[in-house]
């Protein structure tokens, strides 16, 4: 047939909802047409009401499916972005160290780290050796790239895992997803595993029998863990990991927001920190 109209319903029939949804998602056409009329005329739908009922079923399924698939795809973007960000930052720091060592041989007022590289770049007169200033520029570029990736994570993470981001922050959420491999993989982890994600080295040392079991992995960076006195930090890490595990499951399987998770975690952490009592400590570094 040559007189094709381009309508979404052309190659599907009234009660094939899945096929209709696929036709909605995959079709395209340059110009609109009076589709309801055409559907009734061609006999595809019995009347306009029937047509709209059909369209409703098909668009609801099509959009729910398409949204879910796109979100799934996004967790891979998140994993790449957080890994690239960590690589940029690690490389920037390594290079900055090399740079400081070198620049220290010609600079009367040497500094350290990326901040020093920024100073060399900003103040062109500080160091005359162009090889050194050029290296400083590379360091700054890498750090800027890391910052740009971080910004992107801030934007993408809440759409991928809104509950996880609400409980942790975008970077920690992305890191957990990255360590697990995907949001789905994270959603399938028991909370005890989530608690030590990122502490694999310490965990293997423990399993080999020459180290205490690690109390936390990357969730150490969570303010509720860091802000709790060392003696109670294990409980805080357990509480955080427990809620993060639920958040990951909701984000993966349901997708709606559950603000009560934040309230419950806050209440739990308050109870735990109340035990800190006089030993009040926000100091990091005293932990095992």
């Amino acid at each position: 047939m040559s007189d094709r109209t381009g309508a979404w319903f052309e190659d599907v029939t009234r009660h094939e909802t899945a096929a209709s949804a696929t036709a909605i998602r995959s079709g395209s056409h340059a110009e609109p047409a009076p589709w309801p009329e055409l559907a009734v005329e061609s006999g595809a739908a019995s009347d306009e009401d029937d047509y709209y009922d059909w369209l409703h079923d098909a668009t609801v399924v099509a959009t729910a499916d398409a949204a879910q698939e796109l979100e799934r795809a996004d967790d891979r973007q998140l994993v790449h972005a957080v890994r690239a960000m960590d690589d940029c930052r690690r490389t920037a720091n390594e290079l900055a160290e090399r740079l400081a060592e070198w620049a220290g041989t010609v600079d009367d007022d040497p500094g350290t780290g990326v901040a020093y590289a920024r100073r060399i770049v900003a103040d062109e007169t500080a160091i005359e050796d162009e090889t050194i200033t050029s290296l400083a520029e590379r360091v700054v570029d890498l750090e800027d790239e890391a910052l740009a990736l971080e910004e992107r994570l801030d934007r993408v993470a809440p759409t991928v895992a809104p509950n996880l981001v609400a409980l942790a922050d975008p970077i920690l959420a992305a890191r957990l997803i990255s360590l697990a491999g995907s949001l789905e993989a994270l959603a399938k982890q028991p909370s005890g595993t989530i608690q030590v994600l990122g502490a694999e080295d310490a965990l293997f040392a423990h399993l080999r029998g020459h180290a205490p079991s690690p109390k936390h992995g990357v969730i150490y960076t969570h303010e509720a863990v860091r802000g709790t006195a060392p003696a109670n930090r294990g409980s805080a890490a357990r509480a955080v990991a427990g809620k993060l595990a639920i958040a990951a499951r909701v984000d993966h399987y349901a997708g709606d927001r559950r603000p009560e998770l934040e309230r419950e975690l806050a209440a739990r952490i308050e109870t735990i920190q109340a035990r800190d009592g006089a030993t009040e400590s926000t100091e990091a570094g005293t932990d095992d």
């Binding site: 979404w8 609109p32 009076p34 668009t59 609801v60 959009t63 729910a64 398409a66 949204a67 759409t159």
Partner: protein
């Protein structure tokens, strides 16, 4: 005061007159029987009604609406409550999921995950001769979006547009941005009314236009 479309009423909630439509609650808004309040602070179209913009909707089951930038369906839910077939386009997956829930209880609300800058992505679904296009996309190129979607609008149809200055250009003065948008629009549309929505939404311009 301008008339409200059929299906939109001013009703009292907690001692205050508020806009309302009849339908399933969507965002925790106050209800009164089957009526639910429409919050102009969360809806540019709601703000335009509150500010007395000329009403372009008749309301009722024969009115066809194309809504661009539906987000989680806060406003388009109200539109579907008082209109007929309503096509809701949104391109971000996360809000589109909420939009689907809003559509589930509204049999003439059709959610579409598509880019409003690319009408070919949905012209096989959205019918011709739409009565009202509502646009609230808050992205760069808002005039362009309105122009691209002209193809759906009936010759006597209306465009209701909310322009967000910051989406167009964060550094420029909003008035300059608005002038530019109006300029671009005027090839394709005749602007009937344009006023700022600052009372409810800072640095937003509300526009009502008809195709040339």
């Amino acid at each position: 005061m301008t008339d409200l479309p059929n299906g939109v009423e001013r009703r009292e909630f907690d001692g205050r007159e508020r806009l309302a439509t009849e339908g399933e609650p969507v965002y925790g808004e106050p209800t009164d029987g089957t009526w639910r309040a429409w919050d102009p602070n969360r809806s540019k179209l709601g703000a335009m009604f509150e500010l007395g913009f000329e009403t372009v909707f008749d309301g009722g089951p024969d009115e066809r609406v194309l809504y661009l930038g539906a987000a989680s369906g806060t406003t388009v839910g109200h539109v579907a409550d008082f209109s007929g077939p309503t096509y809701a386009v949104e391109f971000a997956p996360r809000p589109a999921r909420d939009l689907v829930s809003v559509a589930e209880s509204r049999s003439r609300l059709f959610p579409l995950l598509a880019d409003a800058r690319l009408p070919e992505q949905y012209a096989h679904v959205v019918e011709a001769d739409i009565d009202v296009i509502v646009q609230d996309v808050a992205t760069r190129g808002q005039a362009r979006v309105a122009i691209e979607n002209r193809r759906f609008l009936a010759d006597d149809g209306r465009l209701v547009l909310a322009v967000k200055a910051r989406s167009e250009d964060v550094t420029a003065a909003p008035t300059d941005v608005f002038d530019r948008v109006r300029d671009q629009l005027s090839e394709t549309y005749e602007i009937l009314e344009a006023r700022r929505l600052d009372e409810f939404h800072t640095d937003h311009l509300g526009i009502v236009a008809r195709p040339r």
